[in-house]
Symmetry: C2
């Protein structure tokens, strides 16, 4: 497979440096287990709970690595992004910790709750029209006016190295030699968490398989994986709203080289898995984070008897609109 | 104050014995913190998360102590209770672990979900009419027919000694000498958790103050505390449905001797505190467990600058009917 990535590919040394850099700003999140879910799944599940992370998601790892890796001169000009999800919250949080501005370009039609959340973490919002061209125009203008450093939600070596600290922690928490973990399952959207996991595990535990979990209704990564090149979908619809974005060159590098397989689950399976986790594990997490368990329950033969790490990626969910209520 | 308790009063030796006895059957639940909630409350909060406990509540500590303390002969005849809440689940769970029957007398009008949950843990339900006389009649019949040992939800020395293991764990987890904890706040219904906390803390850390937290709309314990004798309400109504039951002689002993104060919160304050915990701590817990935080936020002067242990008592809640949706 030919590599067409134009950006520098981060190494495990970058993950270690990121871990040192972000340690004061992120939580070492707990690993939880549930004997009931183990019985259901026919394997041993170890949930790395990034829903308990600062700003409510693993994204704060990559964002903090980018923010705290800036030179003082660059930092003064701030950072910018155009996500409206967990990355925007995380970047705002990290910038706030460093005391520098974070500019977020968001469509004016974005839900008020998302705007409030970004502002709650200190982000400065520039509203654009809800189209790609308007977003790009406004984003270019913000960058020109401020000189802010663009931190992409996933296609950025600093971000991927930061996300790689999550798998590193999981392996440490599992005990000696990763506690005999057989595989890790994480959701895939743009591929930041999966790429970070690949980066770390391919170096320190190459025997651990890496499965990506994706909604059937937004299965562009699974189709890319089978086709051998990036396929980007136009605005897929899924309850797992963190997973709608396509792979990019840097994340495709890791996915195409290190992922064992990409498994998919239906909307109903995702919602059922989410409800099961809330009921049995008593944790608040978002639909995207339920996709791994949905795929594990759907593919008992793949995981039978194994020790399986599962990344619960985030916990930012509208408590007034839980998906099982619409069933 | 004259003691009118007819039952043997458990000692801290009983708590230590209970801890050894139940260790294989219960979780050592985590202590979580939230810098956001600390800022809001103006003190340092340490949440002992019994919502993650087996069967979803601290009640499994007392129930397991009762079940595993039975002689083999008594155990063969099983245990019985007439709770329809967390105690019934916990006793069914503990009996199941020992492989003995657990009889639960419940009104036939109890919600199907509660019956299903008890049966899910292996409990055997006998349905009675929804009146105290019918409940007593059916319960007496079950006891006569089976010879099962009655395990009261809270007015039982074995149960109180079991609940006392929770405060013991919290003190251990806080570090040397309890990490300088100034006080513990726990919800009060019948007083089992508060009594266990009093039993433990009055022995190993008598400098730690103990506050009980109660719904304004079911404030019989607060009124008992001021009056100096037990006042029992007739069927109070509150969203904190685990806290409707009255004190009994054994729990009154501990409450009257060791509690610093009983603080109350309104229904709206309880629901707000619950939503805050879900949103910020990303944990699923029941309304009763939110009463401590509600009273802490309402009484900033009482807790200012202190290190405060907060017992999150349970996590069994109907995910289809969350109280803030009815606001």
């Amino acid at each position: 497979m030919k590599d067409q990535c134009e950006m520098p590919i981060p190494t495990y040394e970058d993950v270690k440096a990121a871990h040192e850099r972000i340690r004061p700003h992120v939580h070492r999140t707990p690993v939880l287990t549930s004997s009931h879910l183990n019985d259901l799944a026919g394997c041993e599940l170890f949930f790395k709970c990034e829903n308990f992370q600062k700003a409510g998601a693993f994204k704060v790892r990559g964002a903090s690595n980018a923010v705290f890796g800036l030179s003082d001169e660059q930092a003064r000009r701030g950072v910018a992004t155009h996500s409206s999800g967990n990355h925007a919250l995380s970047l705002s949080y990290a910038a706030g910790r460093r005391g520098i501005p974070c500019h977020v370009v968001m469509p004016r039609t974005a839900p008020q709750a998302k705007k409030d959340a970004v502002r709650g973490y200190g982000g400065i919002i520039t509203e654009c029209e809800p189209s790609t061209s308007s977003r790009e125009e406004y984003f270019a203008r913000v960058q020109e006016e401020t000189g802010a450093d663009f931190v992409h939600p996933y296609n950025d070596p600093r971000v991927i190295a930061g996300q790689g600290t999550c798998a590193r922690e999981l392996m440490e928490q599992m005990g000696e030699r990763g506690g005999g973990l057989d595989c890790v399952v994480a959701p895939i959207g743009g591929g930041g968490m999966i790429s970070g996991s690949c980066l770390t595990l391919s170096t320190i535990a190459p025997e651990v398989k890496i499965y990506a979990a994706e909604p059937e209704q937004a299965d562009d990564a699974a189709r890319s994986f089978r086709a051998g090149h990036i396929i980007a979908d136009d605005a897929p619809e899924t309850v797992a709203d963190g997973l709608k974005v396509p792979l990019k060159d840097l994340t495709w590098h890791f996915v195409s080289h290190h992922v064992t397989d990409i498994l998919t689950a239906s909307e109903a399976e995702i919602v059922d898995a989410m409800e099961l986790i809330w009921k049995r594990m008593k944790i608040v997490m978002e639909p995207s984070s339920a996709v791994p368990l949905a795929t594990i329950l759907k593919n008992p033969d793949v995981f039978a008897g194994q020790r399986v790490g599962v990344v619960i990626t985030g916990g930012n969910v509208d408590l007034n609109k839980l998906p099982w209520m619409q069933k």
